[in-house]
């Protein structure tokens, strides 16, 4: 049933050209150079250190690596991270 719903949503976003982040609760990531990264629709912090941050998402994890990380703001569904961002990686849970 859950798979069915997801399939319907995906079909709708593809066919009706609706924004994917709204329809499917996907994270929306905004980066300003390597200085800032702003993530909406996250599901909590799994790991945070100076060099690494792992965020929980609906269907996996977001792994951000870099140097000198500082969480500037954190709200239930938004997070603003500052520092030198080297990589942003999507990790799918299998």
């Amino acid at each position: 049933m859950k798979k069915m719903r997801r399939w319907v949503k995906q079909w709708m976003t593809e066919r009706m050209e609706l924004p994917a982040d709204v329809m499917m609760d996907l994270p929306r990531i905004t980066m300003v150079g390597h200085l800032h990264i702003y993530i909406e629709n996250h599901r909590g912090v799994l790991r945070f250190s100076r060099e690494e941050m792992r965020l929980r998402l609906d269907d996996g994890q977001l792994l951000i690596r870099g140097e000198g990380f500082v969480i500037k703001t954190i709200l239930p569904e938004e997070i603003l991270l500052e520092g030198k961002i080297l990589s942003v990686q999507y990790v799918f849970e299998t």
């Binding site: 909590g44 912090v45 799994l46 790991r47 945070f48 250190s49 100076r50 990380f69 500082v70 969480i71 500037k72 703001t73 954190i74 709200l75 239930p76 938004e78 603003l80």
Partner: protein, 395 residues
């Protein structure tokens, strides 16, 4: 996102969170809607972060739930500053005293200026002002308002026509207008009236003295018109001859007017450049680049910067380039003639006094040569031709 700067008003604390899994503390805080920001890793299993002062009470519960220990590191913001100020009474009273002193000194009378009065009058006013209680060192708000002072001082000094009282900062300023008795004009030396130029007498108006000329009489320059010696021959009295003698003067003027004339007309387009000038240095402020006008008229405006009457080598400069267009005006022969007449009329009237009148004009000669119209006009002008000449003693 909220501006974090606002939080300095309500106050916030820097805390250190230590635990086996401190990420849980961050997640719990966001779930419970606790404002938490500026999170950074301190050591391996501890974070430094900022929390609003209002949320500190709820912090303990969150910490217990997430199995973390909290240590307070720093207190920041207005509430803590206020607390500190209360403990340092000396500092606060010093600041308050300073403000109070400033206020009192700014409201004191520091100077009394009196303008427009003679020394004697000034002394009198100074005394009366002193009696009214306006003295150096008095507080302004304890003195009556300037309108009342003006009334009182005007009553006390009847010799002054008007005394204006204004407060300029810490100075009371008295502007005095003294009563002046009209002085008699000094008696003028006795004299004649003589002609300033060759003319035909048109009409005259003699106030004092006796006329020696008649209307329609031709006089040469320097001829006696009105004599200052009156009375019987041998027993003459010397008086100042006064009056106006109008004579008809002939005047010939030659004027040239070109048939084609170039005009510079401003189109209204302008390019302005503002700059600050320090010494001979020009620092542009606004309006860069050159203007793109083919013909332009440049206007320069410079204003020195002088605070408190000190002149500094700094000045503000504005250069305005107005676009101009050259226009050509072509006159016909007849038009050029009228223009020439107008021009020579204006020139003539400038040569004579304000009372001069042009009685008649006659074109003597006109010709067109080299694209120019040359006109010679004869004018008959009526003007005052009298001039005073003192009677030399022993004449």
């Amino acid at each position: 996102m909220k501006n974090m700067w606002v939080n300095t008003f309500s106050g916030y604390v820097r805390i250190k969170v230590v635990g086996t899994y401190p990420e849980l503390f961050i997640n719990r805080c966001t779930e419970k809607r606790l404002m938490i920001w500026d999170i950074r890793q301190a050591e391996d299993k501890s974070y430094l972060c900022s929390v609003l002062l209002d949320d500190v009470k709820r912090l303990r519960k969150v910490a217990r739930e997430s199995g973390c220990k909290i240590r307070f590191i720093e207190r920041k913001g207005a509430p803590f500053l206020l607390k500190k100020m209360i403990t340092r009474t000396g500092f606060v009273t010093g600041a308050a005293l300073f403000i109070a002193m400033l206020f009192i000194l700014a409201n004191m009378v520091w100077n009394i200026e009196i303008d427009g009065a003679s020394p004697a009058m000034e002394h009198e006013i100074r005394q009366k002002v002193d009696e009214l209680g306006i003295q150096k060192g008095k507080l302004q708000f304890r003195l009556p308002p300037p309108e009342v002072i003006q009334e009182q001082i005007s009553d006390k000094i009847p010799d002054a026509t008007w005394i204006g009282v204004t407060i300029r900062g810490t100075t009371y300023h008295f502007q005095v207008v003294e009563k002046e008795l009209a002085e008699k004009e000094p008696p003028e030396a006795p004299g004649h009236l003589v002609a300033t130029r060759k003319a035909i007498i048109h009409h005259m108006f003699v106030e004092q003295g006796s006329a020696v000329v008649e209307a329609n009489q031709v006089v040469q320059k320097g001829d006696l018109l009105v004599t200052g010696l009156i009375g019987k021959e041998g027993k003459e009295q010397r008086v100042t001859a006064k009056g106006e003698v109008y004579g008809e003067v002939w005047y010939k003027a030659t004027v040239e007017v070109p048939l084609e004339q170039d005009f510079q007309v401003v189109t209204g387009e302008a390019h302005t450049r503002h700059s600050v000038k320090i010494g001979s240095w020009d620092i542009p402020l606004w309006g860069f680049g050159d203007h793109e006008f083919q013909h332009a008229k440049q206007e320069e405006y410079e204003r020195p910067f002088s605070p408190f009457n000190y002149s500094l080598p700094i000045s503000y400069k504005r250069i305005m380039n107005r676009e101009t267009e050259s226009m050509e005006q072509i006159y016909s022969y007849q038009e050029a003639l009228t223009v020439a007449k107008e021009k020579s009329r204006a020139e003539i009237l400038e040569r004579f006094s304000d009372k001069a009148e042009i009685m008649g004009e006659k074109v003597l000669h006109e010709e067109e040569r080299n694209g120019k119209v040359k006109v010679t006009i004869h004018y008959r002008v009526i003007d005052n031709i009298s001039r005073k000449q003192p009677i030399i003693q022993g004449d």
